[in-house]
């Protein structure tokens, strides 16, 4: 019998989530807060190595296999589920909360999956859970966005499944271990992973779908899908060089699109792609320092991005506004939300004494160690760009700029507590990086706080800030969106299909009509000859038959004589 220590922690969260709709009132709320903490305790206890195996067909599945990398991601996923639950407990529907916990549990399931089949099952449950979060929490616009989101992830899942099956056929192994993108199978697996990481050219699903979720829903969504993709890339494709290029593209894509964006939560959605880009670049570099950096950055990113989205979600919930053109001056009536938003903004910008400073700099250090000059210059430019698009732009346009006249108060207590908790964590991890470093997959030989590092980072960031205020006239907010790759399937594809229909409809109708005429003609002719009045159906007298038999006999005899 399976003891609780060997039971998959992700499954505990999923089963616990299913209980949520059956509970009521205070018990339900207490369970929502307690469940992630129970799971956190279980995650903490997962030892190194294979913990649980299950026979399935001819294969042995490994639903729970622990190591520092698995635990690191599972720990932050559990913490995120707790903080997200606390934040959303009053404004999210029960169905949404249940789906969010199933989603979180599936993400934890992925992190402990020791084989590709288990990974795939939890991977697909994540897609279903996250789609349900969108559908149950969002408004009317969320439904088509959720369908596009689901289609994209079903496609990613299909690629992953093709890769897994082909890989199994080629190697006979379902173990989830480090691979290289050298065969069709591993390329398919990599593509499946990259779609969840919001990698180009299919990044648009993220800023398309996430901002349509409820305030709490988007906090959950920001944490799991892309970071699970980062986890599987760290484990599955460390050092795959193509990831450096993919990551750098994501970094600048996120910055440029966030600079153009007017919707505060979409700014932060583009910013997720930007930050995951840093992690993907680190995975592509592939050294122990880089992988530690990518893992640490995923950990800190989940916290500060959730904090930023909690702050933005509070503004949305309290004001009903989400566009920068409608916002501004809220620092006067929402001081706590403003302060927490600023702490999140400083963290994402890697400001000294915040969590981003001690994680992102490891990736840059790895580029230096590997003498990747261009990569380092681009990462430095991107670090400045992060301060530009998220570090200043978000708080400036939402809480400051021109006074919108809105005087909404800070959100309810539970939401304030969730923000305070994550703001505290941003600073605590930034000031005391030791505990996080001890959780990383490789031993850490890196000292973030040197006078030179602090000085250079402050120079980079504060002069970026100067550039922001000097360029402010160029960044006037407009009631616009920016075209992205989703234009291909939201506009071009329907347009092409409509044109094709317009062109081929007459042709198709002509072919059908011609074919139908042919069939009708055949039937008519058949009827003519074989019908009741047809030649072939006529009654023939016996005399005629004898006449024709004699005629044929005569012809035969004549021919025989000749």
């Amino acid at each position: 019998m399976t003891s609780i220590e060997t039971f998959p922690p992700g499954l505990v969260l999923i089963l616990g989530a299913i209980a949520v709709p059956f509970l009521r009132g205070t018990v339900q709320k207490a369970w929502i807060l307690l469940l992630p903490l129970i799971v956190l305790g279980l995650v903490w206890q997962v030892p190194d190595g294979t913990v649980l195996t299950v026979s399935f067909l001819d294969y042995t599945l490994t639903p729970v296999k622990g190591d520092p990398l698995s635990r690191l991601f599972a720990i932050i996923f559990s913490i995120m589920a707790f903080a997200g639950g606390l934040y959303a407990i009053n404004h999210c529907r029960v169905a949404e909360m249940t789906a969010a916990f199933i989603y979180a549990g599936s993400a934890i399931g992925v992190t402990f999956a020791g084989d590709l089949v288990t990974l795939f099952l939890f991977w697909e449950m994540m897609a279903l859970g996250s789609t349900t979060v969108l559908l149950t929490g969002g408004g009317r616009a969320a439904v088509p966005a959720a369908m596009r989101y689901l289609l994209m992830h079903v496609m990613g899942g299909s690629l992953l499944l093709v890769g897994i099956v082909t890989h199994l056929d080629a190697t006979g192994s379902i173990a989830f271990v480090a691979m290289k993108p050298e065969s069709f199978a591993t390329w398919m697996i990599l593509l499946g992973f990259l779609i969840n990481a919001a990698a180009p050219p299919l990044s648009a699903w993220l800023p398309d779908a996430y901002p349509e979720a409820s305030p709490g829903g988007m906090v959950f969504l920001s944490a799991f899908t892309t970071k699970t993709a980062v986890y599987v890339l760290i484990r599955g494709f460390p050092g795959a060089e193509i990831l450096i290029f993919v990551g750098l593209f994501m970094v600048f894509y996120g910055i440029i699109y966030a600079l153009l964006e007017n919707d505060m939560r979409r700014i932060l959605a583009y910013s997720i792609v930007n930050q995951v880009g840093f992690m993907v670049t680190g995975i592509g570099i592939g050294t122990e320092m880089a992988l530690n950096g990518a893992a640490a950055h995923a950990f800190t990113h989940i916290i500060y991005k959730a904090l930023l989205l909690m702050s933005a979600g509070s503004v949305l919930l309290m004001t009903g506004k989400r566009k920068c053109t409608d916002l501004g001056g809220l620092f006067q009536s929402m001081p706590l939300t403003t302060i927490c938003g600023i702490i999140g903004a400083l963290s994402i910008s890697s400001f000294p004494l915040t969590s981003g400073f001690i994680s992102k700099s490891m990736i840059a250090q790895a580029a230096i160690d590997e003498s990747l000059m261009i990569v380092w210059y681009l990462l430095a430019a991107a670090s400045a760009g992060v301060f530009l698009h998220a570090g200043i732009k978000f708080p400036w346009f939402v809480f400051f700029q021109k006074d919108s006249g809105l005087r909404s108060p800070d959100p309810p207590l539970n939401m304030r507590l969730a923000m305070i908790f994550f703001a505290f964590m941003c600073i605590a991890v930034g000031v005391f990086p030791g505990p996080l470093y001890s959780l990383l997959p490789f031993s850490v030989d890196y000292v973030p706080y040197t006078a030179a590092h602090v000085l250079t980072m402050l120079q980079l960031l504060l002069f970026s800030g100067l550039a922001f205020f000097i360029c402010l006239p160029l960044m006037k907010r407009t009631l616009t969106i920016s075209l992205d790759a989703d234009w291909l399937y939201r506009r071009l594809l329907p347009f092409v299909l409509e044109r094709l229909v317009a062109v081929f409809k007459p042709v198709d109708q002509g072919i059908r009509a011609g074919f139908l005429d042919g069939i009708n003609g055949l039937i008519a002719r058949t009827y003519k000859y074989l019908g009741p009045e047809g030649v072939m159906a006529r009654t023939i007298r016996a005399g005629s038959m004898v006449y024709w038999a004699v005629t044929l006999l005569v012809v035969y005899l004549v021919l025989n004589l000749v």
Partner: protein, 115 residues
């Protein structure tokens, strides 16, 4: 008295939300005592002080580099105050690049509304 004015201004703002133009007019047309109708952080003298303070901090950050040895790894990054000028230039470049791309990429935010 000042407190009373502040409270009244707040009440007024609550009654007529989303009126940025009115706030702008107050900013540009009022002097001295009437700044009290604005939050202290957005009063012109405060903003002037913030610009001066910010400028001093930036100057100090560059000046400190004369005393702290920073390490360059790839050549150009070893130049004086590299991170300061590099951060500034790349940010201006990114804003301009975004502005340029915006010409082609931006659409009305109702563009997809027929979906």
């Amino acid at each position: 008295m000042a407190e009373k004015k502040k409270t009244m201004a707040k009440k007024k703002a609550k009654k007529s939300p989303a009126n940025p133009k009115a706030a702008d007019n107050v900013t540009s047309e009022t002097k001295g005592q009437e700044y009290t109708s604005l939050h202290w952080l957005v009063r012109p003298p405060t903003i002037r002080m913030l610009w001066i303070g910010g400028g001093l901090v930036l100057a100090a950050l560059v000046a400190i580099e004369t005393g702290i040895k920073t390490h360059g790894y790839f050549g150009i990054d070893d130049t004086f105050a590299f991170n300061a000028w590099y951060g500034f230039i790349v940010c201006v470049a990114m804003v301009i690049a975004a502005k340029g791309l915006g010409i082609f990429l931006k659409r009305e935010d109702t563009y997809y509304d027929v979906d």
